[in-house]
């Protein structure tokens, strides 16, 4: 096994093991609870389709109607792993079984980052790039749930990597044509995971066009350090042709909901996202409700959520890529592949710029521009490696190692510290969760913090208590019960009026729910709570007599 493959496989295995080990502590968010149910429904479809192929279209409508506003590939994977690891073997509960699909895609992402990092900057690049991605606490959190954002990030990275290999005259096992076909298939898989993959082809085309202009550079530089056998070149982007031809076919094939009424259903899917509701979202003390939203939002939130040292490394990587392009244009960078620099730069910046558009909904936080993060990680890793080589060529690995340690150590510390509240993580510039709370930033994502108070609820709730879970969906409550995380005698209430216990999860826009609970229960004192650095994330209120 080559060092390149060894590093990549080690990273994949490490991420798979760590996500599996740390997943049970992570709560179920609103969207995940739906995706878990959808995955189960989709896996039932495949079983029925295999048993009775004649009635497959009727089965599609029955099983794929659930959550058809998002494509079915990733959820189908969640259903598959759930069937294998939970339903068939009982190795895991239904939620963890579903999440195994997400862990696999996280491992795939790590593996790809290691490969590409190696190609760009040698073994240290392969070792550092995945760490720069996964030690961002919010990215680490998103590696756990059976949701769509990390899977589509992995597939966007994979498609871009295949595009890069196809246009940079690869000499690896696959020919450039082979990589072009792979681009098409991976793009289809990305489309069949989440709609934001539609933005990929314009970015790739723009990068290719910009990469064609070399200024005073005499010839195209090599796209990599030669580790994958790339040579100088800037091949025609047949990958884009393959993406246009194969991508939609894969989308339809992987999402049975489109097997009939294909065009109207695609229109409905895209229409839903083009006119998506604007959920309220806190930003610098203001509740963003409707456009125009602040253009600075994704840049500010990125600057306040990515650990500072990683942010510096990523910023340095962006600056280095720009400098390399300028050097090549001036004829002072014969070794620079301008096309590769543009591909990395645009892939790193476009997803953030897209969310900056004032009419794009802001809810969801960093997950909406997560596809930028692997590319920022690659650029950051290369910048660290280059720095080591420039500062002390004879001890380049040691210098890079020291720098990488200083970048990664505080981030790793924070990942451990905030787990499982990754969506509530803020960096040193913000002042952590306390500083962000003072600044009036969104405190958490939807509903997952309730998991931290379930042990107290299980221990103290009176038998048969009715619990108002608020942002945690009833689906999630039942999933907790089926997985043995929540007592089965507790029932789900729909509001404080019919509840004995209320699990208030801090969302500024829903604050009235907490105060209605005070009124209804005649108490203002919580009986339990979940806090991150003293910042309340969830607090439990109980009627007198309902808490023992």
């Amino acid at each position: 096994m080559t060092a390149r493959r060894g590093i990549a496989l080690a990273w994949g295995a490490l991420v798979l093991a760590v996500t599996a080990a740390t997943s049970p502590a992570v709560g179920i968010s609103r969207d995940e609870s739906v995706y878990v149910e959808a995955g189960a429904s989709y896996s039932r479809f495949w079983r029925e389709a295999l048993r009775d192929p004649a009635h497959v279209l009727a089965a599609v409508d029955r099983h794929y109607a659930l959550n058809h506003e998002h494509p079915g590939l990733a959820k189908g994977l969640f259903g598959l792993t759930r069937t294998a690891l939970s339903d068939a073997t009982g190795l895991l509960g239904e939620v963890q079984g579903s999440r195994a699909g997400a862990w696999l895609l996280a491992a795939f992402l790590a593996l790809l980052l290691a490969l590409w990092g190696f190609d760009l900057a040698g073994p240290p690049g392969g070792a550092i790039a995945p760490a720069l991605f996964f030690l961002v606490p919010r990215n680490f959190w998103h590696a756990h749930p059976a949701a769509l954002d990390l899977p589509v990030t992995a597939l966007v990275l994979a498609t871009t990597y295949a595009f890069w290999r196809s246009t940079s005259a690869s000499r690896g096992r696959l020919s450039t044509a082979g990589w072009a076909v792979a681009s098409g298939i991976l793009f289809g898989a990305a489309l069949a995971t989440k709609h934001n993959a539609w933005f990929l082809p314009p970015v790739l085309l723009a990068a290719w066009v910009l990469g064609s202009y070399r200024g005073r550079q005499p010839g195209h530089g090599p796209a990599s350090e030669g580790a994958v056998g790339t040579v100088r070149g800037h091949r025609f982007p047949w990958a884009l042709v393959a993406m246009a031809g194969i991508g939609p076919l894969v989308l339809v094939a992987a999402w049975p909901w489109l097997w009939h009424h294909t065009v109207p259903r695609i229109q409905e899917w895209l229409g839903y996202h083009l006119h998506h509701e604007n959920y309220p979202w806190m930003y610098l003390g203001k509740l963003l409700r409707k456009p125009p939203f602040p253009v600075a939002y994704p840049f500010v939130v990125t600057a306040l959520t990515v650990p500072l040292a990683i942010l510096v490394a990523m910023g340095g990587g962006v600056a280095q890529a720009l400098a390399r392009v300028v050097a090549a244009w001036r004829g002072r960078g014969p070794e620079v592949s301008v096309a590769t620099e543009w591909l990395l730069l645009l892939s790193a910046l476009f997803p953030i710029a897209l969310i900056a558009w004032p009419t794009v909904p802001r809810f969801g936080g960093v997950k909406h521009w997560m596809p930028a993060m692997p590319f920022l990680a690659l650029l950051g890793a290369r910048a660290l490696v280059t720095t080591g080589r420039l500062l002390w060529p004879a001890r380049a690995t040691a210098v890079t190692g020291v720098l990488a340690f200083l970048v990664l150590a505080p981030a790793a510390w924070q990942v451990v510290h905030v787990h499982p509240f990754g969506t509530a993580a803020w960096n040193e510039i913000a002042g952590g969760a306390p500083g962000a709370a003072t600044m009036g930033m969104q405190r958490q994502f939807w509903g997952e913090a309730a998991v931290a108070v379930l042990p107290a609820v299980n221990e103290h709730a009176a038998p048969g208590s009715r619990v108002w879970f608020q942002e945690t969906t009833a689906l999630a409550a039942h999933q907790y019960q089926r997985d043995g995380r929540l007592r089965k005698d507790l029932t789900v209430a729909s509001g404080p009026e019919d509840a004995d216990i209320s699990i208030w999860q801090y969302h500024q826009e829903f604050r009235d729910r907490e105060f209605r609970t005070w009124t209804e229960f005649h108490v203002t004192r919580p009986v339990a709570g979940a806090y991150l650095d003293e910042v309340p994330l969830a607090q439990v209120y109980a009627r007198p007599g309902a808490w023992r």
Binding site: A309, L311, P410, H417, R516, T519, D533
Partner: protein, 326 residues
């Protein structure tokens, strides 16, 4: 026209002699400039490495020190014990920063020595005199997390500005406790909520005392709820009561106002005559004040009524409070 050649031959200008440099400073500066400009790759790398080292060291320091800057559970318990011992009716606890609402879980909800008296825990962003009346409160115990990121100084300054005396701060681990005795506490003769059980309600509204969100903050108020798309006028008639020098009230729309296009006009009537009017609307400020001078009215009991006129559907209701100032 060309000038003729100089008959004395060409002239030569000697270079300006370098300035005296006994300390070597100019030479050092020249060398540094030659090294740094134009910047070499290694210089940029050094700059980047310095930024990485600084950020990394700061990150490690931040992560290492953050838990120590925040209160421990024993700090909270100790503060709860002090407050249980030293508070009395008319006291309230203010939190700085306001998000430190773990205090609600730890502090006593009622005074241990006087269980009929509650100990309100306030989490307002501002305690300036124009921002919060603090009705019924004589003393405020400011509970601060002084070393928490974000800073807490403004709230203390605002309370200090409206206080006659202060005691503290008492440092208890990573918490501090300071008592502010309000210089002019607002102690009402009566409040709308107090008189509500004896009030007559006319019109289609359901009226009840509740704690509701107005502008993201809790307001203990009387809520008038209106059903249906075309709600009519509701009137809350209070039993005759002395008025003192002024009536002071607030109104606001209860709950999340997103998507709320309607507003409500609230008229304050004394003995059937409108003396004040205020609008509850989704636009800022969410909690609007009305104050009516009643000092010229005869010192008898008067009938006060609040007339609420919604402009459209208001399913979450209108939050009202009104007090008579002595």
């Amino acid at each position: 026209m060309n000038n003729p050649p100089d008959p004395h031959g060409p002239t030569y200008r000697l270079p300006t002699p370098p300035p005296p440099d006994p300390t070597g400073w100019y030479e050092l500066r020249r060398r540094a400039r030659a090294t740094l400009w134009p910047p070499q790759d290694a210089a940029w790398a050094g700059l980047f490495a310095a930024a990485v080292v600084a950020a990394g060291v700061y990150g490690i320091w931040f992560q290492a020190t953050l838990p120590g800057r925040l209160p421990s559970s024993s700090d909270w318990k100790a503060v709860a014990a002090v407050l249980a011992r030293d508070t009395r009716p008319g006291d309230a606890v203010a939190l700085a920063p306001p998000w430190a609402e773990r205090a609600r879980e730890i502090l006593p909800e009622r005074l241990p020595t006087r269980p009929e008296a509650s100990l309100p825990v306030l989490a307002y962003p501002s305690y300036a005199e124009g921002a919060e009346d603090l009705a019924g409160i004589r003393r405020v115990w400011l509970l601060s997390l002084p070393d928490a990121p974000g800073g807490t100084g403004r709230i203390a300054a605002e309370l200090q500005a409206r206080s006659g005396a202060a005691e503290g701060p008492l440092r208890i681990g990573q918490l501090t406790l300071t008592r502010f005795d309000l210089r002019s506490p607002l102690l009402p003769l009566w409040s709308l909520a107090d008189l509500l059980p004896a009030a007559r309600i006319q019109g289609p509204a359901v009226v009840a005392r509740e704690i509701r969100e107005v502008g993201f903050l809790p307001r203990d108020c009387v809520v008038a709820r209106f059903a249906g798309p075309h709600p009519g006028t509701a009137v809350v008639r209070l039993p005759p009561a002395p008025l003192g020098v002024a009536l002071r009230g607030h109104v606001g729309l209860a709950g999340d106002v997103s998507g709320t296009g309607a507003s409500a006009s609230v008229r304050v009537m004394v003995d059937g005559v409108e003396l004040g009017r205020v609008e509850a609307a989704a636009s800022a400020p969410a909690w609007r004040t009305v104050q009516i001078d009643t000092s010229r009215l005869p010192p008898a009991r008067h009938e006060v009524a609040l007339e609420v006129v919604p402009s459209g559907p208001l399913p979450r209701g209108v939050c009202l409070d009104l007090v008579a100032l002595p």
